[in-house]
């Protein structure tokens, strides 16, 4: 409570100081979080970390331009820094884009992303879960040589937006996650596997299930070999399809479209993907870690289809880009943190489930590959050109069956071409680890991609 009072007091002082400098349109974005993490190594707790942190972003219109400044030192000494730096920053901006402080709306969706029970789980329970996870992972298969990492973590965060136009919004959320990475060994052959679970219901974290998945993955890759280079029909397992969707999600940002950095320019209403493809941005999704009643500018969030039956329906907008295009904001203004400027990001962004099971997809393949992991996503793809060339591994599929593990190969193609060649969409929608946005996809069967190996 004391902390809350201090914060309100601080906000008042900043706005007052800004007014004294002649500022009219101002906004304060305040973020605070509490985190815990537990790591184990060989049957013991190896590392324990706790934190309490906060930060404040200030932005204001000065000479019709938006200036930003932030601080993690939330006390009176930072007030002149915030206001004066934001003003100086506004002065050097010469973009013609209009950025404004939002007046607020009467309607915001109720979102419940905070589970109070998580706060009642004791540290002992969390430690036990982490120890159990490591133990399970070591005991499931003789070929598991070691646990590379094993951890539990939880985060509780609160976000507030308060502005000089009378808007005052707040939202709170929490999340817990556990993950484990194992090394399987057979002779000189080493293979790794990892698995995770993220939820804000602690009791849904099943250490056995996570351990089983990681172990299965590592062991299944033992004995993997490269394959002959060539073009193959490819199944992207749900996590792989999700990684690609996430990596190319920038192309849906109206900011990138307007800055000539997306090939989706002038494509609204056009067919850009297979008929069966639907991509949805749903900020109100239950158990969606990116669910929120308002976006980074305080604008109400809304559910929309970005691609419907292969047709591009909308870009993702914030206030600035929507004004420029003469449309309404889609409520996708984002702030990575108080350190960032207003940008555009998806919320819970996913490819809608299709009807096919994994077996259906595998059955139809005479000779192809099922990819289960991509590597080097931060360097091996280019969202401007759509090209990707990535190290990967998975299984060879022959005559409708998985025949053997494959690694030391790369897969390459072009995202914009690939989404036109989706032959089957799976019914196994899975979400990745949340990080601001929350991406999901079912497995996809692609007509053909290029594989480099032997």
């Amino acid at each position: 409570m004391v902390k809350k009072m201090l914060k309100k007091d601080f906000v008042g002082k900043v706005l007052k100081f800004g007014e004294s400098k002649g500022l009219k349109d101002m906004e304060i974005y305040y973020d605070s979080s509490r985190e815990l993490s537990i790591k184990t190594y060989q049957g013991n707790i190896d590392n324990f970390s706790v934190s309490n942190s906060e930060g404040v972003s200030f932005r204001a219109l000065h000479n019709d331009k938006m200036g930003y400044a932030y601080t993690e030192k939330v006390d009176d000494s930072s007030i002149p820094f915030l206001v004066e730096e934001a003003m100086q920053n506004a002065i050097i901006i010469d973009s013609d884009d209009e950025e404004n402080i939002y007046i607020g709306s009467d309607e915001y969706e109720e979102i419940n992303n905070y589970n109070p029970i998580l706060d009642q789980v004791t540290e002992e329970q969390k430690i036990q879960l982490t120890l159990d996870l490591e133990k399970e992972a070591m005991s499931l298969d003789d070929r598991i040589q070691s646990v590379q990492y094993c951890a539990y973590g939880d985060v509780t965060g609160e976000t507030n937006i308060i502005n000089s136009k009378g808007l005052s919004l707040s939202t709170k959320s929490n999340i817990a996650f556990a993950y484990v990475g194992v090394v399987a060994k057979n002779g000189d052959d080493l293979k790794t596997g990892m698995a995770y679970k993220a939820t804000n219901d602690f009791f849904k974290i099943d250490s056995k299930e996570i351990a089983k998945e990681a172990v299965k993955e590592a062991v299944s890759m033992l004995g993997a070999e490269s394959v002959q280079s060539g073009n193959y029909p490819i199944i992207l397992r749900n996590n792989v399809a999700c990684d690609l969707l996430e990596s190319f999600s920038d192309v849906f940002s109206a900011e990138n479209v307007q800055k000539n950095l997306s090939q989706l320019k002038h494509k609204i209403g056009q067919k850009i993907a297979s008929d069966n493809l639907n991509i949805i941005d749903n900020p109100h999704m239950e158990d969606g870690f990116a669910s929120t009643p308002f976006d980074g500018e305080g604008y109400p969030t809304q559910i929309k289809k970005v691609i419907e039956n292969g047709i591009l329906k909308t870009y993702l907008h914030n206030l600035k880009t929507s004004e420029k295009d003469g449309v309404s904001s889609t409520g996708n203004a984002s702030r990575g943190s108080y350190k960032s400027i207003i940008d555009i990001s998806p919320s819970n962004f996913f490819i809608e489930n299709g009807t096919y099971s994994m077996d259906d997809m595998i059955n139809g393949i005479d000779k192809g590959l099922l990819l289960i992991e991509l590597q080097g996503l931060h360097s091996g793809l280019n969202s401007v050109s759509g090209d990707f060339s990535l190290a990967c591994y998975g299984y060879l599929v022959e005559e409708g069956k998985i025949s053997k593990p494959v690694n030391q190969i790369t897969v390459s193609g072009n995202f914009f071409k690939m989404i036109k060649n989706i032959e089957m969409i799976g019914n196994d929608l899975k979400f990745g680890l949340p990080a601001g946005s929350y991406f999901g996809a079912p497995s996809l069967k692609i007509k053909e991609l290029s594989i480099a190996g032997k």
């Binding site: 707790i45 930060g55 601080t71 920053n89 050097i92 090394v183 590597q375 360097s379 790369t410």
Partner: protein
């Protein structure tokens, strides 16, 4: 940054449950970031990062806590809360700390960027933009990012260390996009340093701008690289990312101490071709990855990792050093107070060999010439790495011929190190950001031109049936 008695009280509170070592890290950092898109300044942010990290050891067990709070009571509370994770009773005292401001020997700063008018920073960006944009009509978009940061740190521990240091970093990043017939390709250059604003004043900004555009133009007209095993010549500078990924991460105590590295237990053994000598040197004057002291308060050092192919040393931090029975090597780093420090690379490079650039190319019958590399990643447990070639060319009959795009190199560290069969004499460093256990930190990679006799190149196989 904090009074001596306050520091001692915090270190004491951290040991109150029987830990055998405590440490405090205080950070106060100001940052400026300016973005220019299409010739106009689009946005700019300045900020102040401020916080305190407390670390406690009990044997191999470590505790970490951080907060942004500035008052003594909160800090003691945080230290005590962290200490509850150590469940012993006895208390070990704190040695009297000796406060010391570290001399700026490695990274002397002439002009602190916070003293420079923002207009001057914008001028540098405009110069880069103009050079990149006017390079050729095919260039359709240019973005320029300017970054400077001024980090003040204090690190003190229960063994009596108490040091304050200053790190200034400056960087300009230029991205050009070339478009032709509906194809878009980009080129990038991002020079950076551990200097003050003088870095920009002495930088050939126009050259970097033109180079980013030249790469984009070359790649928009390039064909897709073919696939398969072939000899690969990797040029100097950022090409050193191959050593960084294929080997450097596996030599960090972070993975070696727990046996999660293919290089664990191999000290004194041949791990690379005898042509390879590799060094991690945190003392290069004003280097992008240099600092006066590391984030545990140890002096930075020049560490020989591999000498003539023999593994000589790892990069070791205090905690992992306990497991390995090895001394810290001055390479313990962290992104900020939010991360416990661990062994990381600083400026890591393969040293000069005997061959000239011309000799290496003319001795290569067929293969791939990787002029500029993009980034990459590695799985230290298996040594499997991958990285992207940003600008590539075909080598035919000992000559560099047509441009190639979309090549990815994959392999395993030990295999590729053994297959380095020519090392050039044109060592250069290139700047990157390296993400790992203790966050994202500035690191230099580097090498002279090298040739790997055989490596898997991932590209395309003829026309995609799309």
């Amino acid at each position: 940054m904090l009074r001596k008695d306050v520091i001692e009280n915090i270190l004491d509170a951290a040991l109150s449950t029987g830990g055998d070592f405590s440490e405090i890290f205080v950070e106060d950092k100001t940052n400026t970031g300016i973005s220019l898109i299409g010739g106009k300044i689009e946005h700019t942010v300045s900020g102040r990062d401020y916080g305190i990290g407390i670390r406690i050891f009990d044997g191999f067990f470590s505790v970490y806590a951080y907060t942004n709070s500035v008052n003594e009571k909160d800090l003691i509370e945080t230290a005590k809360k962290a200490a509850t994770a150590v469940r012993k009773m006895k208390q070990k005292g704190v040695q009297t700390i000796n406060y010391q401001m570290v001399d700026q020997l490695v990274n002397p700063i002439e002009i602190y960027p916070d003293t420079v008018n923002k207009g001057k920073k914008v001028d540098i960006m405009q110069r880069a933009y103009n050079a990149a944009n006017t390079y050729d009509k095919i260039i359709t978009q240019v973005t320029v990012h300017y970054l400077d940061s001024h980090q003040k740190i204090l690190v003190a521990n229960s063994e009596g260390v108490c040091k304050e240091d200053i790190r200034v970093r400056t960087r300009l990043a230029i991205q050009s996009v070339a478009s032709s017939n509906g194809e878009m390709q980009s080129g990038y250059f991002g020079p950076g340093s551990g200097k003050g604003f003088e870095f920009f004043e002495n930088l050939d900004v126009e050259w970097y701008g033109k180079e980013a555009s030249r790469i984009a133009k070359a790649m928009v007209f390039a064909e897709y690289s073919s696939s398969g095993k072939m000899p690969v010549v990797i040029d100097n500078g950022f090409g050193g990312v191959i050593f960084h990924e294929a080997c450097g991460h596996g030599l960090e105590a972070t993975s070696v101490a727990k046996g999660n590295s293919v290089f664990a237990g191999k000290l004194g053994q041949q791990v690379a071709s005898s042509l390879v000598t590799a060094v991690d040197d945190g003392t290069i004057p004003n280097g992008w990855g240099s600092s006066n002291i590391d984030d545990e308060g140890n002096d930075t050092a020049r560490n020989i990792l591999i000498e003539n192919g023999i593994l000589k040393n790892y990069m070791v931090d205090k905690l992992n050093g306990r497991r390995m029975f090895m001394e810290a090597t001055g390479s313990s780093r962290r992104q900020s107070y939010r991360f416990a420090p661990t062994s990381r690379m600083t400026n890591t490079f393969i040293t000069n060999g005997q061959s000239t650039k011309e000799e290496i190319i003319s001795n290569t019958e067929q293969g791939l010439y990787a002029k500029y590399m993009g980034g990459g990643s590695v799985n230290p447990a298996t040594g499997e790495f991958n990285f992207a070639v940003m600008e590539g060319y075909r080598i035919e009959n000992g000559k560099i011929t047509s441009p190639l795009r979309g090549a990815t190199l994959i392999g395993t560290g030990l295999d590729v190190l053994g297959k380095i069969d020519m090392v050039g004499n044109n060592l250069e460093l290139g700047q990157g950001m390296c993400g790992s256990a203790s966050g994202s930190i500035p690191t230099n990679v580097g090498q002279p031109m090298i040739r790997v006799s055989e490596i898997i190149v991932g590209g395309r196989n003829g026309e995609e049936n799309a």
